[in-house]
Symmetry: D3
Subunit: 238 residues, 6 copies
């Protein structure tokens, strides 16, 4: 039994609060248990230089943790004058994951910037960020459609993400911070609505993992992500 | 009549949510109407170099706006690699204001760092930040007392802050963004529980202001701050 | 009696040296006692991006202290790779103050950059910088007029600035460094030629200040600034 | 048939040149076809702050591409003043991979810094860097052993890394630049000598991938890495 | 006798390896004994802003040392976030020296960027960099000519560079690291094919030098550079 | 005849104003015609890390130009966030030159920081900076002697510096900005009181220079520096 009484294949309570703030075209507070991430999607006209004149749109993501979202306070990245390697790695992952949801060619020369700001961290902030941002992105695309800025719907489908890990030889779904800091292996998986992989990132923390364990973890992740996509759909009223 | 039906001397609805996040020793979500600022107070043992060995404590503040807390998205300061002059000015103001609440000599060699992160902006973020952080600071000092880290209570009293402005020749209390962007003069006032000034910062935006107008604005601010301090006390259960 | 024999309402000896350097369109060495600030005004054609195409001009200011202008040497900001919060706060104040002197709409798409470099510091560098820069700005506008770059004179009037403080319960005008470092409250005031306020920035250093003390300080500042404006006019040969 | 006549499961020609430069304790030029990476291992006494006093050692990695190692010149990161997100992501991956080779507790308070500098890039620089650095690390550990700085051999075993990808529905081993830029999915795998995973990083570039494809790619990677480890052993004269 | 058995006026073994890497338009590995510098020349269309519209080309240089090219590891400049003063001084010297080889007016609006990366350092990296880059530059100009991008050959002639020093009162040619770190004076000389000076940079390290010694060193340098230019010509097949 | 009526071997009017500012231990305003540089010497106890515990002192220099010391305004380095390569090159040159004046072993663990700030530039700022700083350094050493911080006088002698150039085939001493920007070759020379060289830095600007021209320029520089040293001695009252 896990310390919060979950079974090994059980997600934490998941909540989506749409329109959490009012200025952004999409604004979702996602909660995976005690992990809370504010995901906003902002539409800006124009695209980065490398896309100018192509008629194609762009989606990019930025990620940050509030300094005291964590157990002990971290330096504010804006004050230190640079983002950590971890931050950059995560925001690149979020960006790639969300771009896979959309046919950029149908977006016109618009950029949607996803901001994922962690208000409270308890493990799994990157997977929560992807899962919540997917909903915020759908809302922002809806705004573009409503404003008649697009001639066709660029949305290809949802994506969601979850972490899994090996702990004392057992595969666990959706690790909280305490589990994450103790587990032998940590695997983050991003999948589409149709059950295919967008990203798989597995890292042996204290012990290498076998092909067999890899399969166990992927199976667990697939089930978890299916549930998350149902919850996204419900949140969107689909 | 103001566009949100307030009278000239009326505050927006003010809400304090203590323990908004769970890791920080003090965590308050303050709302001044649509302005929402998360204020956390973090205790760290040790003090900056210039205080080492003095037995004295320190209080410092950092401020940031989430990129899409505003009507149009602002660059993320962590990504740009530096804080704007406005950010630095505000965090210096918050730090000075909060230090005036406490007898630093009674704090031991502990540092309390106040983080003010704007989740949603609608004018008055710096005054909301000071007013909310004062409550978070009281909570963090309470933790130090409970942990028997201090021999005497360092708290001297509360401070709160409000903005006032001249708009079409009339003095208005607690400006929202729309009023702030149109007013002729903007004055931010920080006061103590006992009705004395900690900071007065008045800036003529489009038109210089007279001594008479200055007095009018200060009077309005004094009344507003008295109300804010009552609300702080109620939030603290005093 | 103050340590330099001044009465409480007396300015230090004030000197304006126009054309202190020869390249800038306006170049004034201002001295407030031992505080010496070189203020230059440089005309550049073109305006910042947010004003392009508006036909309007812009005035901006930068501030710096030579590393050994002070009692003990400070790090060179260029070597550290960033300006301190104090520097940014001061240069923003100088910029706002000087923009209030001019009808930017009559300036054409020209930018005047004010550089205030402190050669020697003895308290009051920001108020000396504003007072000296006002004269340098008039000289630079004169160059634009002489060169027939402008169709109407954009100058609305002079501004000047002074510091006042409470020390042992008495209000003192024009604080030198020693007074500044001991006083209970420090108030910087920027006023126009017509006796209205542009900026009021009061900070309780060691003790909050009352409404009554605020009034005392403002009165002292008004008189001091009137004198400074007479001296500016004399320096300009008006 | 691949454009360089390789079969789908064939590595490019692999070369290890030990002692490529003479100052470093380990210095290996690794070549995966036209990809050439210089991997040096430098011993420094002392460890980062978080390990001081633990008696434990540390291994860290840095990665860089010479500006014209690529088809078109990239900006020099030292001149731009920061490392890209990609660079940081790669050097974190290399560091984690190499730390898994060693029992840090047996290393004493020594730090080994791995520098991976890409002289020529043709795809797979990160996997070449890991594979070459593993040999440089063994050489540096040998120096520590020879100098009698260690009481027990900290080496647990070798690691090596390879990229695999899906291209037109087929799994390909060891992608060159041209293949990498066209493939649908890119998967980097790091494995130990004993056939277990250290890292799996799979990214759908243009098309999501299925569980089946994932398995195909992992199988291909396993075989490739076994070959690489034989080549490492041969290079080391084991 | 010098520690590597050279006579005072003898160069170290000099090697030029053209086409050391395959992407750059010019790529030369130059070796001065154990000093090895990779010099690449990259053609980019367009010129810096200050030359736009002039029809003139530009040549610029960047320099870097791999962190472990030296006896003890140096910080990676990209990780530290800035280039040292020494690096900037050297890359400015290389740029000026190479621009003197070419009639920029005949280059069209093309920029050639020279990257000099030190793989292994044993004294004289800047002079090796200039000498090797001259050959890489000739190769890159050849590419422009072959591509019919130029109407006339912009090459005016070769330049080469050597260090000389005073050691125990004797003038030595082409100092290795050990000599360089002990010598009393260090003089770097850049000369043209026709025997005229482009740069002379002499620095007294531990002892001032006389006019007579200066002459001795210049004479030695002239002879050394004549030899280097013969070797450049041979490498180019002239 | 030169445009300011000087003969080819004539210095501009040279002025030293000691104690130009009052806080620094040495403070000299040096003027070479219209070039004006404020040179301050600041004593700080302690030395950089690499000298700790050696009993030896250190001298270092920083250089900056006020943004409008020049004909057209330059960006403020502190605002841009980095010093240019030119600035770094110059401050390294000044530091080396001044260290040659002193026996650092006799300085105790004290650091003297020389700040050279150009108030007005008309060519030759680096040579004026060295010549003026030499006097400021003597003053600061005098303070250390007076305070009995040193047991023996560390001063070995004065240094001074001058620029020479080839213009239309003639050698000119002490170039002003206009001459500097047109000349074919620019040579900066630093010499000791005893007539030996500390630095020689010659750069062909538009045309290589011959051995003969080099000799002509060095001869001119030697005479100019002798005169400068007499003026330094006079300024010091020797």
């Amino acid at each position: 039994m896990r310390h919060d009484q979950r079974s090994n294949d059980q997600l934490r309570p998941i909540t989506f609060t749409r329109n959490f703030t009012r200025h952004a075209e999409g604004s979702v507070l996602i909660e995976f248990g005690d992990t809370r991430v504010l995901c906003t999607a902002s539409i800006e006209h124009g695209v980065p230089r490398f896309l100018k004149g192509t008629g194609q749109g762009w989606i990019t993501a930025e990620y940050g943790m509030l300094p005291r979202s964590t157990h002990t306070r971290n330096d504010r990245e804006a004050a230190r004058g640079k983002q950590t390697g971890r931050t950059q790695e995560i925001q690149r992952l979020i960006g790639r994951s969300l771009r896979s949801m959309v046919d950029l060619k149908k977006m016109g020369e618009n950029t949607i910037t996803i901001d994922c700001d962690v208000l409270q961290a308890d493990g799994g902030t990157r997977t929560a960020a992807i899962t919540g941002s997917a909903v915020a992105l759908v809302d922002a695309l809806g705004v573009l459609m409503t404003q008649k800025k697009l001639t066709a719907d660029p949305l290809k489908g949802l994506v969601a993400a979850i972490s899994v890990g090996m702990y004392k030889g057992e595969a666990l779904l959706d690790l909280c911070y305490e589990e994450d800091s103790k587990c032998e292996t940590d695997l983050n998986v991003v999948m589409t609505q149709s059950g295919e992989f967008i990203e798989i990132q597995g890292t042996a923390e204290t012990k290498p993992f076998s092909r067999e364990q890899c399969n166990q973890m992927l199976a667990l992740a697939e089930d978890g992500i299916k549930d998350l996509i149902l919850l996204q759909q419900k949140a969107l009223g689909w």
